[in-house]
């Protein structure tokens, strides 16, 4: 057990850093540090172009097998790439859902034909993906999906109808993957299918959801007899739950290290302000800054333990399950800390009508962190049941 990187890894780090510093210039200079969570609506065109630049440099999908255009990069190298990317101010990746969710799902569950059809577009940065899981009546309860998929024999196509919600980047995406009910007789997680659907068709409508920040990060996506060819279901009808659960596992990976680098820049900014406005001398603020720093370090070492475990036995360990709860709670606290460090000025906007400063966005948007992707309450259930082996609650009607 040791924390030092090998000389080869350090060389790889230098290579990444060099490429980024050479390429994050010109048209891409303006998007440095932009487009992260809470800021997804900005510089979308530039960030799309950036995906393709990245791909040209061979820096998309580096963990994928070489056969599919990846570098088969080791965990250490993926950690390094993500760290350097964040350190260089690489913009929020519009392609991340394709690269970290759709791609691994295709690699694990897709047919050869599906891989050939979709992986190259993801790898090249051309095709953007979004995810269609949550529904208005099934926020935390994925098994309660009501979107229907009916197979139309004459046209040999699936027809999808229903509504998804909390879909980020929907208005920019080329494709969406959707869980829909293939067997209306089946309840809960049985009878679901996992579909790959083109966004650019009459049956798909996107409506942005305005948030408390005044901006729109998430969307509603309406499916009204949207079509999907027979080849665009992953696995069999009825396999949707299995595929979706596998996919949830991919959400926690090396990208967490990059996320933490973004958190570090936020914390650094807060520390800078605290030093300049004197709140760094306030004992209560000092405690909280120290706590934030400790929490972020703990997050990093939790991730490294988790990733080392992955390399070890290919299964995510106990530490993986605590990750979402940990970072979302930490980040929410950071948002409040930012306000208290800013002091009275925390209220003042950059401009009217409602242009928030970066830390104000952080403060408000982090309230979403403990909700989307499974609320803190759901996360605690998962930890208790899967990591600690505690029983599920009885299902039944409340009285």
């Amino acid at each position: 057990m040791h924390l030092r990187f090998t000389a080869a890894d350090e060389e790889f780090r230098a290579q990444v850093a060099d490429w980024l510093s050479e390429n994050l210039v010109g048209e891409f200079a303006a998007v440095r540090g932009r487009g992260g969570p809470g800021d997804e609506h900005c510089f979308v065109e530039e960030r799309k172009a950036w995906e393709q630049r990245l791909a040209e440099g061979g820096w998309t999908c580096i963990g994928w097998p070489e056969a599919w255009g990846g570098r088969n990069a080791s965990i250490e190298q993926q950690v390094i790439f993500n760290e350097e990317y964040a350190r260089a101010g690489g913009p929020g990746r519009v392609g991340h859902i394709g690269e970290t969710l759709m791609g691994p799902t295709l690699l694990a569950f897709g047919s050869d034909a599906q891989k050939k059809r979709y992986l190259p577009g993801i790898k090249s940065g051309r095709d953007l993906w979004c995810q269609g899981y949550s529904e208005p009546s099934a926020g935390s309860d994925l098994a309660n999906v009501r979107t229907r998929a009916i197979f139309d024999e004459p046209s040999q196509r699936w027809r999808i109808s229903g509504q998804k919600v909390w879909t980020s980047l929907a208005h920019e995406s080329d494709y969406v993957f959707v869980i829909a009910r293939t067997d209306p007789q089946q309840k809960s997680h049985k009878g679901l299918g996992f579909f790959l659907i083109a966004m650019d068709q009459p049956g798909v409508t996107v409506r942005p959801i305005t948030q408390l920040t005044g901006t729109a990060e998430f969307n509603e996506v309406f499916f009204d007899d949207a079509v999907c060819s027979a080849e665009d279901i992953i696995g069999e009808p009825g396999d949707g739950w299995k595929v979706a659960m596998g996919l949830l596992g991919f959400e926690r990976g090396v990208s967490t290290l990059g996320q933490q680098m973004l958190f570090q820049t936020e914390l650094d900014e807060i520390i800078r302000i605290a030093k300049s406005n004197g709140s760094a001398q306030d004992p209560a603020i000092r405690q909280r800054i120290a706590e934030a720093h400790i929490g972020l370090r703990a997050m990093r070492f939790n991730s490294l333990r988790m990733l080392s475990g992955v390399a070890d036995d290919a299964s995510l360990g106990r530490e993986a399950m605590i990750y979402k709860l940990y970072w979302s709670s930490w980040h929410r606290n950071l948002g409040k800390l930012a306000m208290d460090v800013l002091g009275p000025d925390a209220e003042l906007l950059l401009d009217g009508p409602y242009e928030l400063g970066r830390l104000q966005s952080l403060f408000l948007f982090t309230r979403a962190d403990t909700i989307y992707g499974g609320t803190n309450q759901i996360q605690r259930n998962i930890i208790a049941e899967r990591a600690l082996g505690m029983p599920k609650e009885p299902r039944g009607t409340a009285t």
């Binding site: 408390l212 209220e347 408000l364």
Partner: protein
Amino acid sequence: MDFRFTDEQRMLADTASAFMQEVADSSATRQAMISDAGYCAESWQRLCEQMYWQGILVPEACGGLDLGFVEQIIVLEAMGERLHCSPLFSSVIATLALRSVPESAIAFSLLERICAGDIVSLAHTEARPDWGSEGVGVTASIGESGWTLDGCARFIPFGHSANTFLIVARHAEGLGLFVADNNQPGVHCQRVQTMDQTRAMADLTLTNVSVAREYCLSTDFEGTLDAVLDAARILLAADQVGGARKSLELSVDYVQERVQFGRSIASFQAIKHKAADMMVKAESARSLLYAAGCIADEWLSGYSDERALCEAAAMTSAAAGEAYFFTAGSGIQLHGGVGITEEYDIQLYFKRARSTEAYLGNPTAQREVVARLLLDGDS
């Protein structure tokens, strides 16, 4: 000792609640908060004419109702429940300041004008380094023709709509309280854009502003300022307690309706226990608030000293600030996804919770005040 509302107080609470339901529903609040003034002039007029809440603490001689501090709290709690956008808070603070300076014709007439619905705002701080006398950023110098004021004051609630300012300024020997109208030469007041849009704020800049001698209401205002700010903290806590209770109510209503995993999510222990914790905090802050109201009443009538007021204010402010932030923040969590949408009101409560928690000193600062009273000196 009788820790209940009197019948009259109960009636006032019912009236306040009904009036707020009428003038301050969600759409009215949303309309008012994005308007230029940040409040609805018509509602303000109705409040002044039909409710006469601006006169609650004004002496009868000046046309006021001469009621108690508890009555003032009752209406502010009802307003806080509805996130009402209103300059009333400003006028009440001004009333307290005017009642605390030596009697004078100017003070008398300002109290009359407050009763008539004029907005009078206390402008006292730059909030650097703190919200109290250390933060005073206006200086006053005396000359042949009277006083001259220069400097800035910030975070004046609804100051951009004020007719008149009560300006705290530092002179050679201490702090004074000065009167200036908004249209006087050198007086410039402008609304600033704030994260919480329901409590509009303004900055005041004074450039070489002449104030006649009789418009200096006090030259020894430092101790009085502390007491007025303590009273203001209790009034603000009323807003916070109202908002905290409503945040809880909205959230419980929402979770009762929302069905997941085949049952109302209100039946999940994690949700119920969070709601229980919210209630404990909100109701405890409310108990402290009413006690602080009683103590402020005693202070107004001379039975209690500034130390008792200060302790009550610091305790109440700390508890109410935390309770509001906790209930509104937890309220967002209980709302789940919709909690962070612009469409639902809980996020407006959350923003007001933050702005009020920070205003006039956050809970940490208030607890330090309590600690000073308990631990330092001979006390």
